[in-house]
Symmetry: C2
Subunit: 178 residues, 2 copies
């Protein structure tokens, strides 16, 4: 079972309420200090989630076609998020309220299992990300992310991938050519 | 319900099998490229989990009295771990096999809920850690961890906390005095 396909089918069948959003490039879905608990599914386009430290933007995650995303801190603890979420391209999204989403998950043991697996996967992703951030070599950082998320390099402009990889766009271009 | 207290009680009652380990300071529980899926409970002592990049050790997590820990990547995906786990002091641990632990969790809806909450908490912890790693100021990094985990500064020698905070022990000492 591909969990996203199942969810999209259930939205189409009217078993899960979702709001369709058409956004322009550069639109913000949320900013720090807002409680923002919706879950989003990307029908088209792409978004980035970033954190600002001392006026510097750090891209920490992406959403692209056929993936879902949230301001995960706020979604999990109902407190204000630390993140900005902004579209990179004009995007078509489906937005589902947290309570609606959790009721839907609870309605079916198979969905509960898939949600549990998703949470485990999120822990593992964050552990891989921690290792990325501790890896000194830009070449190895690039290699790790390329192996893990090849789709990223099709969907996301290099300057945002460079921010995610903590290097300049020039360094990333050089690594990709060599 | 404090989940750790419940688990320790169930071990005492013989409802969950655990092996008691007495370790010396500096003993290794696991090294990278080993599949290591046990869960540990710290009765006494402390341990650190670290990752080595290009011959540099990066401490990424601690276990201390009344906490539990695991080589979490290996525990979750049954693949070889990326981490070393090593005692910082002589330590008394309880080790539980993964299958044993998961069967125990499955035996009771309350335990399943607590385990689910624990997983959510792990995601949030890893997100906080990601922000730590993206924070340029050593003073703010120290402040964030002090607020989140004050117990750390009672239980763990400063040189390992400095490694966790990505600063020299000298810088950490200076920050703590000011």
């Amino acid at each position: 079972m591909n969990f996203i396909d199942v969810i999209l089918e259930e939205i189409n069948n009217g078993n899960l309420n979702a709001e369709e959003l058409l956004l322009s490039r550069g639109d913000f879905l949320c900013q720090p200090n807002q409680v923002h608990t919706k879950v989003y599914f990307v029908l088209d386009g792409s978004i980035r989630i970033f954190y600002v430290d001392d006026q510097e933007e750090h891209t920490i995650r992406f959403g692209y076609k056929n993936s879902f995303f949230a301001a995960l801190d706020s979604f999990l603890n109902d407190l204000p998020t630390n993140y900005y979420m902004q579209t990179i391209k004009s995007s078509k999204l489906l937005a589902v309220e947290k309570s609606e989403f959790l009721n839907f998950i609870q309605s079916n043991v198979k969905y509960q299992e898939a949600y549990q697996a998703l949470q485990q996967d999120l822990i593992l992703q964050q552990m891989e990300r921690e290792i990325d951030l501790l890896t000194a070599s830009p070449i190895i950082r690039h290699q790790r992310v390329l192996e893990r998320s090849p789709q990223l390099f099709q969907e996301i402009p290099l300057k945002y991938i460079a921010s995610y990889l903590r290097m300049t766009p020039e360094t990333l271009s050089r690594i990709r050519k060599s």
